[in-house]
């Protein structure tokens, strides 16, 4: 049907090209060294090869050249040489489309093991002319294709599959372009090794958290009554909008959350030792599940790990601290 796809050697011989690409990539790393947080693409690190379409184009111009010679037809010589010239120009244009771009790591959101980590890479065009059809890739995974106007900087997202908790590192990734005519593919390899954190996978079938020891010393009744207004406190992110004191906000422009005496003000401790399991990963997984659930229900919770503990609180920062601790528990903490 679409036989043109077979013109792309990467589809024709995926295994061979992948292995070759890895090998050349290793060589490139040895040659150019590891990259800093902001890397400007110098011409000497940009590689270029014809694509399948480019090879067909070359064969076509060769056939046209033979035809022109046979017919001694000077106008078809003109046509042939113009196309050969366009091929030459396309090669240089393709390489120059990458030269001088600035690549930097623009952060990553933590993910749970099994999700894909979305590495955000910023590419800045600090030149007078637009850059076209830029794409980032790692292995067979590709980002969107984007154009960069002069002075513009755009974010490219590279998803990386995660399997285990801890750090996820973006290995060698590439930036490539097929612009202008897809006759050539030019690319550069980057070795920045940006890292992202991977939380443990929240256990699917976790036992309920152990009976609550309230920090306040007394256990309120279980009914989630929200009838008795008890006062206002500062808004924490995660508070239900239903409980926000909108009238007070209109007056003072300060977000306050209504508190009710009937509300469950309990705070729980999630204790590493309280999880009944012999497997470390499973324990961490269960703890993760508890934290995620507790965070969702706006409960205060604390986390106690061997050697570390986080007193009950809630909010994004607390959640992050706890989950990070779980993610890196027992691993060598390179960056703390």
């Amino acid at each position: 049907m679409s036989w043109i796809r077979w013109l792309y050697p990467s589809r024709l011989l995926p295994g061979i090209t992948r292995a070759a690409s890895r090998r050349v990539g290793r060589w490139a790393r040895k040659r150019q060294g590891d990259d800093g947080p902001v890397t400007k693409l110098q011409p000497r690190r940009i590689y270029i090869l014809p694509t399948g379409v480019g090879i067909v184009f070359a064969l076509m111009t060769l056939a046209m050249l033979l035809g022109s010679m046979n017919y001694n037809n000077n106008l078809s010589f003109v046509l042939t040489f113009m196309l050969i010239g366009v091929g030459f120009v396309a090669m240089h244009q393709c390489q120059r489309n990458l030269v001088g771009l600035e690549v930097s790591f623009a952060g990553i959101e933590p993910v749970f093991a099994g999700q894909s980590a979305q590495f955000r890479i910023a590419v800045a065009n600090r030149s007078k002319s637009p850059r076209h059809r830029i794409r980032l890739y790692i292995g067979d995974v590709q980002s969107d294709v984007q154009d960069l106007e002069p002075g513009e900087s755009k974010i490219f997202v590279l998803p990386v599959r995660t399997e285990r908790r801890g750090w996820v590192t973006l290995e060698r990734f590439g930036i490539r372009t097929l612009f202008p005519f897809e006759l050539f593919r030019s690319w550069a390899w980057l070795h920045m090794y940006p890292k992202g954190i991977v939380y443990p996978h929240p256990a699917e079938h976790a036992p309920p958290p152990p009976a609550t020891q309230t920090a306040l010393g007394h256990r309120q009744h279980d009914a989630r009554g929200e009838e008795d207004f008890a006062g206002l406190r500062r808004f924490h992110s995660g508070d239900s909008p239903r409980n926000v004191a909108w009238k007070a906000y209109a007056r003072s422009e300060q977000l306050l959350t209504k508190q009710f005496s009937g509300a469950d003000m309990s705070s729980q401790w999630f204790d590493f030792d309280a999880v009944v399991s012999s497997d470390l990963e499973e324990r961490l997984s269960v703890l993760t599940r508890w934290i995620v659930d507790a965070d969702r229900t706006l409960e205060d919770y604390g986390l106690r790990l061997p050697g570390r503990s986080f007193p009950p609180a809630h909010g994004d920062a607390h959640r992050r601290r706890c989950l990070e601790a779980l993610a890196l528990f027992g691993l060598e903490q390179a960056d703390g």
């Binding site: 679409s2 043109i4 001694n72 003109v78 366009v86 612009f179 897809e182």
Partner: protein, 651 residues
């Protein structure tokens, strides 16, 4: 079919351009292709585009296969062959139409664009006019624009795609020129060039019957162009000999169907007087005959020989424009001492045809004292009796010579030549008809002679003992101005209206001549840039005796040099923008402060730090920062820049 056939409108931004490129590539073919092919491609284009607009599935495989088969059979049926430029371009058009119907991905359009390129190339094989060059450049720009659109962002404005592809083609132009000049040309083709019989070429044919030449005389197409080395022959000597006809069936004259080589032909020519040296650039005729001034004696065209009737012919048909140098002697005698028995076939007349003419000829011969006397009396009959020279003679019946001589008395050169030759033969004088061109117009713009199809002419040769074959042009007896003035036959029609000599038509004629001069140069230097011209050009460049290795080396060196230049242009294109004045001034302020702004530190925060540092006066620091921010983010105001300048200078 397992494969999905659906479309999602993703081709909407690129497909119109691909279609436009295809249409433009097809344009020169339209007049040659059968109408159904153009219609089919057009229909497929509309069909496919509406599929994309309505996001419908493309037609099923079986339907497409059926269409492909019937289209292929259609081409086969139309042309009876699939090789040659005509059927080749028809097949390309069909392929484009069918590929269009299965195109679903952007990349599939590359195939369509490849076909467009081949269509452009095949149109160049068919015809190469002066405007073909701008056409092909435009086609390349259009095709490359479409190529760019296949991968461009949907939101990219069209103007930008056109600008990009034009820029890249412009960069490619000097490379193409260098390659064009220095790529070594070879003389002989690798394999036989298929002759396209589909296209009609105006010109003389192998036979002649009444009306053939008068049809030609309306064509101002160029037959050949001649450059004379020194003197230009007199108008009365401008007889361009082509083929000789000796068989007469009562209506039409024919000659040898295939050219024959006669080893004795050249030896039988006795020349006297000054030779004429000239070079002919002859348009393709698809025939073997090579035209030369009567009578050719030397020529430098390969495998070209003089035939038994002194007609010059090349073994291979002239299917491309050719150039040759030749030497002719206007003053000549041929076959003066041939055995008259060998001339028997120049006396044959079909039994029972044109009886009145034969009767008249015998009577006139009997009345004349000699053969020469008889010839003179026949010519004076044409001259003095009521005979007219006209482009539109009345139709003649089954005895055309009788009817012409005794009834209509109106005719063109072929009528007079035919009637004259028949009369000669009837009277026992060997006679034959020579076809060629007579006359030619000198182009004052570029010093060469144009011989057009309108100059096509037929005259006779009679053999007289002792004198050999002598040229007799009966048309000259009727319309001497046809021969003497050296003007084109088309200028004289039955009504006698000649070209007006008023200013507008003179101007028009000069424009025509200037255009022809441009075409002649174009043919000589662009289309005729073969091994000889290339060597001449290399010599002019200072390369003595260049061989293909030297040329290829020069080519590589030039291409490398030009590529470096292009690379440099691209570096300039992608250089960072120059800093503006405000940024330079602020940079100077930063330098003078002795501090370094941190990443992400705004000018205001930095100003606070500088003020705390205390090295610079706080008020000036504040003023500089405020002015800088105003210049940066406020409306343009030269006064602000002025203030910034003086503030920084004051530090």
């Amino acid at each position: 079919m397992a494969r999905a056939r659906g479309t999602d409108g993703s081709l909407l931004a690129s497909l119109p351009w691909t279609l436009l490129a295809l249409a433009f590539a097809l344009l020169p073919h339209v007049t040659y292709l059968p109408v159904w092919i153009t219609a089919a491609l057009l229909a497929c284009a509309v069909w496919r585009y509406s599929i994309e607009v309505r996001r419908k599935p493309v037609p099923p495989t079986l339907l497409r296969a059926g269409l492909a088969l019937s289209a292929f059979l259609g081409v086969l049926f139309t042309y009876n062959t699939v090789s040659g430029v005509g059927p080749g371009s028809a097949l390309l058009a069909i392929m484009a139409a069918l590929k269009l119907l299965e195109t679903r991905q952007r990349r599939d359009q590359f195939v369509l664009l490849f076909i467009a390129i081949f269509l452009v190339m095949s149109s160049l094989l068919r015809e190469q006019y002066l405007w073909s060059l701008p056409y092909l450049v435009a086609a390349v720009v259009l095709i490359m624009t479409a190529w760019l659109r296949t991968s461009a962002d949907d939101a990219e404005p069209v103007r930008r795609s056109v600008a990009t592809s034009s820029r890249l083609v412009m960069y490619a132009a000097p490379l193409a020129l260098a390659m064009w000049i220095f790529f070594p040309r070879i003389a002989t083709p690798f394999w036989a060039v298929p002759i396209d019989t589909g296209t009609a070429i105006t010109g003389l044919s192998d036979t002649i019957s009444p009306g053939d030449i008068s049809a030609l005389s309306k064509s101002d197409a160029v037959a050949f162009r001649v450059t004379f080395d020194d003197k230009v022959p007199e108008p009365k000597d401008r007889y361009w000999r082509g083929l000789v006809l000796h068989r007469f069936d009562g209506r039409a004259w024919s000659g040898l169907s295939e050219p024959m080589v006669s080893s004795g032909a050249l030896r039988s020519i006795k020349t006297s007087g000054e030779p004429v040296h000239y070079e002919v650039t002859m348009e393709a005729t698809r025939q073997h005959w090579v035209f030369a001034l009567d009578i050719p004696f030397h020529w430098d065209l390969e495998s070209t020989f003089l035939g038994p009737q002194h007609q010059l012919a090349r073994v291979q048909p002239i299917d491309q424009r050719i150039a040759y140098e030749a030497v002719s002697y206007p003053d000549y005698r041929i076959e003066t001492d041939i055995d008259p028995r060998r001339l028997q076939w120049n006396l044959e007349l079909p039994e029972g045809r044109n009886p009145r003419t034969a009767q008249l000829a015998r009577e006139m011969r009997a009345a004349a004292a000699s053969d020469r006397d008889f010839i003179r009396s026949v010519l004076s009959k044409f001259n003095q009796e009521e005979y007219h020279y006209t482009l539109e003679p009345p139709p003649l019946g089954s005895n055309p010579v009788d009817r012409f001589l005794f009834e209509t008395r109106r005719g063109f050169c072929e009528h007079y030549a035919s009637a004259f030759a028949v009369m000669m033969r009837a009277a026992g004088i060997p006679a034959r008809i020579v076809l060629g061109y007579q006359g030619g117009e000198l182009n004052p713009m570029a010093d060469y002679m144009i011989v057009r199809q309108a100059d096509a002419h037929a005259w006779t040769e009679v053999w007289l003992p002792g004198a050999g074959w002598r040229r007799v042009d009966p048309t000259a007896a009727v319309a001497p101005e046809r021969v003497d003035a050296g003007r084109t036959g088309a200028m004289f029609d039955g009504s006698g209206a000649a070209w007006g000599l008023g200013t507008p038509s003179m101007l028009l004629h000069n424009i025509v001549l200037a255009w022809d001069a441009a075409n002649a140069k174009w043919n000589e230097w662009i289309l005729g840039y073969g091994p000889e011209n290339q060597e001449r050009f290399m010599n002019w460049l200072g390369m003595d005796d260049p061989d293909w290795r030297q040329m290829l080396l020069t080519l590589v060196a030039l291409v490398t040099g030009i590529t470096m230049l292009i690379s440099f242009l691209l570096i300039l294109r992608y250089r960072p923008p120059p800093k503006d004045r405000a940024a330079i001034l602020y940079g100077e302020f930063v330098r003078k402060s002795g501090l370094q702004p941190q990443t992400g530190e705004s000018p205001r925060v930095f100003a606070v730090r500088v003020q705390r540092d205390g090295a610079l006066p706080a008020a000036v620091v504040q003023s500089i920062t405020d002015t800088y921010l105003d210049v940066r983010y406020g409306p343009p105001d030269p006064a602000l820049l002025q203030r910034l300048e003086s503030n920084v200078a004051a530090l």
